[in-house]
């Protein structure tokens, strides 16, 4: 279980990106959604230890992990699939999958995990994880790495981005399976209705604050209401003038 208490985050130039976030994530499958720029990725980075919150506490299974670095949190069971996968010159898919799994990965094991994300291991394991892979391929491997870790808390930041429709269907299936197989928590950041549809609970983040956090049934209708029209004040004012 993950608990965030009064988490706030300010950039160095004092821009407030998150205000007083309070969340208890104890359901299997929680989706964080909200407009672009609302602070979703920032929150994920704070949980993974990539960013240090300016205030508040993070508890994992009751233990305060706020002071732990990225590595220590990873070893406590936090997994994080980045929104933008990182490229490496000279490190192969096999190397990274092995590092993720914490042991030299066997081809058969790689086949299992990579086929979950729709990739044929044979064609990919010896390829460098660099610019020669397509955006969607990189994204799938990013997801596969987090699957391979099998962490207590797995965070996926917009796993659907750049993934074609057919594979997306399969991906939903993978998450469903993962939810059934694990007794940990899966936290997905997503804009996709299909992913919201299978959530136990949904967090709606807006302007760096938790605007809503409840069961899917309660949240979904509200989100749809909220997402009409633009929110840029300049444009709104312009509309009034016209």
């Amino acid at each position: 279980m993950l608990e965030l208490q009064h988490i706030s985050y300010q950039t160095e130039d004092e821009k407030e990106l998150l205000y007083d976030i309070n969340l208890k994530i104890d359901d299997h499958f929680v989706v964080i959604t909200g407009p672009n720029g609302s602070g979703k990725s920032t929150l994920a980075k704070i949980i993974a230890g990539i960013l240090t919150p300016t205030g508040g506490k993070i508890l994992l299974d009751g233990e305060d992990i706020t002071g732990l670095n990225i590595t220590e949190r990873a070893n406590k069971g936090v997994g994080y699939a980045f929104q933008q996968p990182v490229r490496f010159k000279g490190l192969t898919v096999k190397d990274l999958m092995s590092l993720a799994a914490g042991k030299e990965a066997k081809v058969s094991e790689l086949c299992d995990v990579l086929s979950e994300v729709g990739l044929c291991a044979k064609e990919y394991i010896n390829r460098d994880l660099d610019g020669s892979l397509s955006g969607g391929e990189l994204k799938r491997i990013e997801i596969a790495m987090t699957l391979a870790r099998g962490a207590k808390l797995s965070i996926f930041d917009e796993p659907e981005a750049g993934i074609d429709l057919w594979s997306f269907q399969k991906l939903i299936h993978v998450f469903e399976k993962m939810v059934q197989a694990t007794d940990g928590n899966i936290l997905i950041i997503s804009h996709q209705e299909r992913i919201l549809d299978i959530a136990d609970k949904i967090v709606y983040l807006k302007d760096g604050q938790v605007a809503m956090y409840d069961s899917r049934e309660k949240i979904l209708p509200n989100i749809l209401k909220n997402t009409g029209g633009g929110s840029c004040q300049v444009l709104l004012d312009k509309g009034k003038e016209a």
Binding site: I70, F82, V86, K89, G90, L91, L99
Partner: protein
Amino acid sequence: MDAIQKNILKEVADLDALPVGAYNIRSNGATSARNTTANIDIVTKEDKPGIDIIIKPGTVHESVHIPVVVSQAGLKDMVYNDFYVGEGSDVVIVAGCGIHNCGDADSAHDGIHTFYVGKNAKLRYIEKHYGEGEEGTRGKRLMNPTTVVHLEEGAQMIMETSQIAGIDDTTRITTADLAAGAKLDIHESIMTTGEQNAVSNFTADLNGENCSCNIVSRAVARDKSRQHFTSRLNGNNVCSGHSECDSIMMDEAYVLATPELAASCTDASLIHEAAIGKIAGEQLMKLMTLGLTEQEAEEQIISGFLR
């Protein structure tokens, strides 16, 4: 051969025992073992130190190993090796030089390797340089390899060089000329540490129609070491040339990259890419989210980069 020499042989040529095929092992300035085959002859030069390696036309799937071991402190070894790779052959040549210096005098190995690669021949040339010493000794390990490549029509050469550890001072010079349809691929990996100094200088003359050259240099400079990389591609015909110099800087190192492109033909297409920078923070972070410490992550990134 003693244990030190055997270990060096392992480092530079990945050899535990005598290799199969043709070989010439040079140890402390003299040939210590040699084997020739029906298609590959090795002949000691009469006028200067070094050997001629003569590969008959049409020789395929054969290899030549020519490791050099310097384990005597203060030895300054200089060799001239000429390689004649016959028309239509397809061979692998593994060269390597290792210096073990446990004295206070400098040890050096300077080599000039000249390749004459015949029409439509294919050559893969692997060269590894390595140095080791003992703590508290002052003798430097110096290595200055010069490689001269002549590619005839349709000849192809892949050259993989690496110098990962232990060479205090090096000047590496590589020059090449390419005839029509020839293809040259160079992949260099260098790491310098401590106060080491490395200069690497490539020049390729793309003379023949539709010849192509690709030079990729990957370098890591740590501590207070210094590196200077120069590459010059001369496009004298319809040709394509690409050079890439990619460096990771750490600590207080210094890296200078000076790419040069020169064209005397409007249909020459030459590209250069150069990048110098520290290890990308996001790469470190990604590996740390997989449970590696920052130092382990650094090691993984560097060893992959230099592979």
